[in-house]
Symmetry: C2
Subunit: 485 residues, 2 copies
């Protein structure tokens, strides 16, 4: 039998790895000169690539050439300093170093025993971030709770819902859902909650949309209490409420304390979705955002949005460290091992839906090691300051108005034509389309209070004052042109 | 406002990235000299690390030092050539190069429009692998089906189940599950199916465990047909059956064709779990493994087990390309865009539970680019040949016996003491514990037919004949010592 080595040997990897690092450095250094969004049509990429897989190996140079020629020109550049769409997806260079180390180890952290380091580094980081965010110590492993890294806040919401279903009904693992469960959200809640309810077998009818306070768009605790009471009176089972800290649309903040107090009487699980905004609590001046979270059962915030850590790294904490394993554990023979049976270890497979898991903690660790908490705070503060400055410009320019007060680093604005709301909406939509088509910046929209709104989500790793200046100049120029035409 | 840069600048990254690449090359080159499994106690890693996060940044060298001092010694080394546990987790150096490029782009491929390249490269690869595996063209986008990369086969099974629930009941999205749904597995089916049923709100009672043929441990189509008929007669709703190609325990193969024929009459969704073994169908001589898959609705096989691609990259194909979006799509305003509304693109967020997704196709592409299909076939063939050679040694040695015939590169064996099954089981257990404690190799176990079995899963990227020789010598020495004592 030939001793075939399909993989690179380490010395080849050293040479090619250096070439890829150089490619990355050049790509990142050159981003500012590229359009943020590509102008390609559906099918263009497929048309550029061979339809069948290669029979023989080819050198890395050929791959890099195709990446340059096909992939980059057809990529929306989320790491571009003038990317202001959705929420940021901070793939910092620090985090890439950590992720490379994770790839090197190639560990499968499904059980403590399958990689003690992968589990315990994650525990240390989750406890450390809990403290740095000012969370109640009950959310740490030392305090009886604990945290883990999920791939996304969607998955965090799903497992929180599963734990809530298990807590609400000891028969759930055996008998499934009954159809009487109810989940409380608002019209501003992220769609991942509706998806979680669907995945969990509850269906859309299980969702109760609680009224919000006009203006703030925050969930009304009195309306929540009334909805829960009415459902209980009707023989239904309130299971989970999701207050949001920083909604996707406009960055609205639900009053977590009031929500949690309204939920308490009937034992409703409180899952706080702070996917984007939660990380700002690293700064003492923004810690009020998490007021009341000490009364919640679980909290999600994404390190992969605004905390410099490459997707995927969504941080989920639960007050009861046994809650997720109680809901999710299944123990086939081949996973049995002495460490698990000792009860002294955490097996993170029982904190998530998939069995396998990467050593994601390394990229988060590389970030906080390379920046320190002080660097993370500066990163957040700079973007919040840039948002305040942009909001001032919007206020001072009669051609624009704020759709709502800025929330941290999110500015929601619209064009003012003087010809009424419909004309304003049409102009706002057109300005957004033109800015995006120009490639000079990338923006996304929402509809709030029935009105079309441009969202400017500041937070890309390299976004600085000059990029906001460029955006603002472009917005003004396009608005002038649109209103004139 | 200070122009604070929390991240590395590209030139710093170039320097540090080279250092990390060197670390990776050295680590991989030195693996053979390290113990495969660490001897650390629970809490050791946590005790080595500061309890709180650093306030100030520190140089990369300090992180690498901690990785050397704490992480590597506390890691089960899945990339070690003498790792034979569970199934392999091939984090090839080729795939690391691709993953680095993915990190560089930092794309979020939730929608086609959020990164056309991320979506279309994945489509091209999934169609290309479908052809290379000999799948029915119906599983390609060109044929009306399609494929996507999931994080794990667990998640693939879950979304297949959700699509099946939706197909079985048009009210599912609105009203949830009814409690009448039934899912068919065997005692050998992976626990992810039971977990999927739990997550989906069906509960354990929804699982029907179909009898297997003694010896082969394959699902009996006649028993499946009878179970389905009985459930239909009882007013229940058969939803999904999961035949496995290469079970986790012993690599058993369910007769997919017979299962699919039994499922057809009542429209039961057939999801083929070929997580480990499916990739072997790249070799024509193993293509029979997938006989009957052309009758199935979906198929999973993991590139991250035995196909050189770092976790996570589980390949899922569906016959009906509309099935997953029909079950999973939710369209909030902020995700609306012209491309999605044109109907001309695939939005992969609707093929999975999480909203966000990485550009995982790049690592798979880097693998097939760097090895060619010919390299992938050699990789698989070499390990199958090594398994055959090990099985021959087991057959020839009276101190051992095969627990079952080898399945591809999985050899299941036990120690023979001459003192009966209980003594054999105890000796087998003790030999496994001693081999693992020695650090010379890492093995895991299962229980099959009530007997304790050592699984030797050959397939790590760098495993060669000499590593099997070393394992065999160690097994023989430990068996001699255990039987003597």
């Amino acid at each position: 039998m030939a001793d075939v080595t399909a993989d690179l040997d380490p010395e080849e990897f050293r040479r090619l790895g250096h070439a890829v690092v150089d490619w990355i450095a050049d790509h990142r250094a050159g981003l500012d000169a590229l359009p943020v969004q590509p102008g390609v049509d559906p099918g263009w990429v497929r048309g550029q690539l061979p339809a069948s897989l290669p029979e023989d190996p080819a050198p890395l140079d050929a791959l890099l050439d195709t990446v340059d020629r096909v992939v980059v020109p057809a990529s929306t550049l989320w790491q571009h300093p003038r990317f202001f769409g959705y929420f940021p997806a901070n793939a910092s260079l620090h985090s890439l170093l950590g992720d490379m180390l994770s790839g090197a180890l190639g560990a499968q952290g499904m059980l403590w025993s399958t990689s003690p380091a992968a589990t315990e580094v994650e525990q240390v980081l989750m406890d450390g971030f809990a403290a740095a965010l000012g969370l109640d110590p009950a959310f740490t492993f030392a305090g009886g709770g604990g945290g883990c890294i999920q791939d996304s806040a969607s998955s965090g919401a799903l497992v929180a819902l599963l734990a809530a279903l298990h807590r609400a009904d000891p028969q759930w693992r055996e008998a499934g859902v009954t159809g009487d469960e109810r989940v409380y959200v608002t019209a501003e809640t992220h769609s991942s909650l509706a998806k979680a309810a669907r995945v969990a077998g509850l269906g859309a009818r299980a969702l109760r949309t609680v009224d919000t306070t006009p203006g703030s768009l925050g969930m009304r605790p009195d309306a929540l209490a009334a909805a829960i009471e009415a459902d209980v009176a009707a023989g239904l089972r309130p299971v989970l409420v999701c207050p949001t800290v920083g909604t996707t649309g406009t960055g609205a903040v639900d009053p977590v304390r009031g929500v949690a107090e309204a939920a308490r009487e009937h034992g409703v699980w409180v899952h706080v979705d702070a996917a984007w905004a939660g990380v700002a609590a690293l700064c003492p001046e923004f810690r009020d955002l998490l007021d009341g979270v000490e009364l919640a059962d679980s909290l999600s915030t994404d390190a992969h949005k605004w905390l410099l850590t490459a997707f995927d790294a969504s941080l989920l904490w639960v007050r009861n460290g046994a809650a997720l394993p109680a809901a999710l554990s299944i123990a086939p023979e081949y996973l049995r091992n002495a460490a698990s049976e000792s009860g002294q270890v955490v097996d993170y497979r029982d904190w998530q839906v998939p069995l396998g898991r990467r050593f994601r903690a390394l990229k988060l660790w590389a970030v906080v090691h390379g920046t320190g908490l002080s660097g993370l705070r500066s990163h957040i503060r700079e973007h919040v300051a840039l948002a305040a400055k942009l909001a001032d410009r919007v206020r001072a320019d009669p051609a624009f108005e704020l759709a709502s007060e800025p929330s941290l680093a999110l500015v929601c604005l619209r064009v003012v034509t003087g010809a009424g709301p419909e004309a304003d909406d049409a102009a706002t939509r057109e300005v957004l389309a033109r800015v995006n088509a120009s490639g000079a910046a990338f923006l996304t929209h929402t509809v709030a209070g029935g009105r079309y709104v441009i969202r400017v989500a500041i937070g890309s790793v390299t976004t600085r004052a000059e990029h906001i200046d460029e955006l603002w100049d472009r917005l003004r120029a396009e608005a002038t042109s649109v209103v004139r035409s």
